[in-house]
């Protein structure tokens, strides 16, 4: 789906989309660290076709990415949530218009240590109890009396990330509200390290990181009232993994799409979204989303072509 109110890029005289033509130039991508592996995978695959186009992928977090994006410093912003009102305003103020593409799905995965035998399924309320600001929960038995008296050590993404925003929104109830005495990192892999190394550890991050580390970690099933559901490609695509499944986005800048190398990259990304998602171990779009994306692409092409 295209972002509200933004223009699709004006058509260029040249036949920008044709793969045969060798392109050159820089494409600056920045933003969500969750989406970064996806964009990086796209960049790597794209490089096989267009070796002279230099795609760089920064990892500033969704918020940091939009900050740069709306400041005109980047061509494409990765986001693990939709752009927010303030960011829309910031972009508008600088005259930056953009498109929005949903490129993959993510299932925010709550993980515990491999040897954690007790926490197989947690309710949203239990998670909220752990993560609310000022929470005094320091031990598992404070969550459920059946749980052992094991110290609870929390790990999670830093405040600059879309993952943090999304998690606090759906679990705690208000975006950005979280207890602060946990080990935050902009880098989700640090969270992996942390939980994998701590018996009473609990953390959350994107599904990819869990898949990559399934041998070291255990994913917790989530009960949002309708029974325990574990994260998987299946549950994320069919929407039963609630409330932690979410779509992932890229926001190409309209002005940049006038540059053939940027347009080529975005077209490549959209056209090969399934392969890219699978390669980067993300959850591909479901058929419905796929249809929307195809529609958006066609619209973009039409705009570019007409």
């Amino acid at each position: 789906a295209c972002g509200g109110g933004n223009q699709t890029p004006a058509r260029q005289g040249e036949d920008s989309g044709q793969p045969a033509r060798e392109l050159a130039g820089d494409v600056k991508v920045d933003g969500s660290s969750t989406v970064a592996p996806l964009a990086t995978a796209a960049a790597e695959l794209f490089a096989e076709q267009q070796a002279k186009v230099r795609v760089t992928v920064g990892t500033s977090g969704t918020g940091g990415g939009f900050e740069k994006f709306c400041n005109g410093e980047t061509d494409i912003s990765n986001a693990s949530r939709q752009i927010e009102a303030e960011e829309v305003a910031a972009c508008k103020a600088k005259g930056v218009s953009y498109a929005e593409f949903t490129v993959a799905n993510d299932a925010l995965t709550v993980v515990v240590h491999k040897d954690n035998t007790w926490a197989t399924c947690l309710t949203v309320d239990q998670l909220k109890k752990m993560w609310s600001p000022g929470s005094k929960v320091t031990s598992w038995d404070q969550i459920d009396a059946k749980f052992p008296d094991e110290p609870l050590k929390l790990f999670g993404p830093g405040t600059d990330s879309g993952t943090f925003d999304y998690f606090t929104d759906v679990i705690v109830g208000e975006e950005g509200r979280s207890r602060t005495d946990y080990s935050p990192s902009e880098d989700d892999n640090v969270v992996v390290q942390g939980v994998a190394g701590t018996k009473g550890g609990l953390g959350y991050f994107g599904y990819t990181y869990f898949e990559e580390n399934a041998d070291k970690l255990k994913a917790v099933q989530i009960d949002s009232g309708g029974g325990c559901v574990g994260p998987s490609a299946q549950t994320a695509q069919d929407g039963t993994y609630k409330p932690l499944s979410r779509p992932l986005f890229i926001y190409p800048k309209a002005a940049s799409l006038k540059r053939p190398e940027v347009l080529a990259f975005v077209e490549y990304f959209v056209a090969n979204h399934k392969r890219i998602a699978e390669d980067a171990k993300f959850i591909p779009l479901n058929p419905e989303q796929e249809g929307l994306l195809q529609g958006a692409l066609t619209k973009l092409k039409a705009a570019a072509g007409g």
């Binding site: 940091g64 900050e67 600059d160 950005g176 005495d181 080990s183 942390g194």
Partner: protein, 316 residues
Amino acid sequence: MSATGGTTPSPTGSPGPLGRARTRYGENAVRVVLVAAALVSVATTVGIVVSLVPPTVEFFEAVSPVEFFTGTEWAPLFEPAAYGVLPLVGATLLITLIAVVVAIPLGLGAALYLSEYAHARTRGVFKPVLEVLAGVPTVVYGFFALRFVTPALQAYLPPGLQPDIFNALAAGLVMGVMIVPTVASLSEDAMAAVPGGLRDGAYALGSSTRLVAVRVVVPAALSGIVASFVLAVSRAIGETMIVAIASGNKPALSLNPLDAMQTMTGFIAQAGSGDLPTGSLDYKTIFAVGALLFLITLVMNVISARLVRRYREVYE
């Protein structure tokens, strides 16, 4: 420029007038270039101050200094935000303390050995080897702390004393080793600067090498040795990558070195690499913490400069 002499011998036999002083433009130009080069360092300090002070002032317009300096919770990037810097300062001091406890005995011992016992050849080999320790990139130390030292600690410490995966202890230990060369090299220099005459004097009175080392060399080199400690401590306080990688990024006011914690430098690296929106209060926190760090190291350095100067006065 006047003619240089030598052409018209004076009637008295003088080989001619000495000629007037010339203005040597080249010499003056050189001087200007040199002064400019020296001033780059001043410009650097000015740049640091200029980049730290305004955001810091703005920060303190929004956050009360009382909260900053006395608050015990550090969560500037959360809702609701908390701006008590003590957990960061505490972690910095704790990790520095661990590092110093490692580095001072090791460094001083190694320096004494090299200066008083080792043959010139041994010294020629081991001093550069120690200096390699100082040249290893700190990323490498951080990696080593996280991937080798922490697992080793987890394997060998008793169950009641299990460190977190990220912990101050491993970071401090490794940082200690990193600053051993600073202590060893500078102390050894200070010891080497103790006049040989003092040693001869002590040996001639029937001292053993140990007594010469402990009773004569160390006291005589003391201010130089202390200055090396101060420099090592400054280095430890300012070290970033080891803590960013190995000590965790969890601000915690804790004295338990087995816990994860965040230092001042760790916070700056974390917040800075997250690329906070310019001009936001969050962004200014980086500068406030940076300014505090700058001040702390400045004070340490002024102390060390004093010590070094006093040390110089002893024999000159």
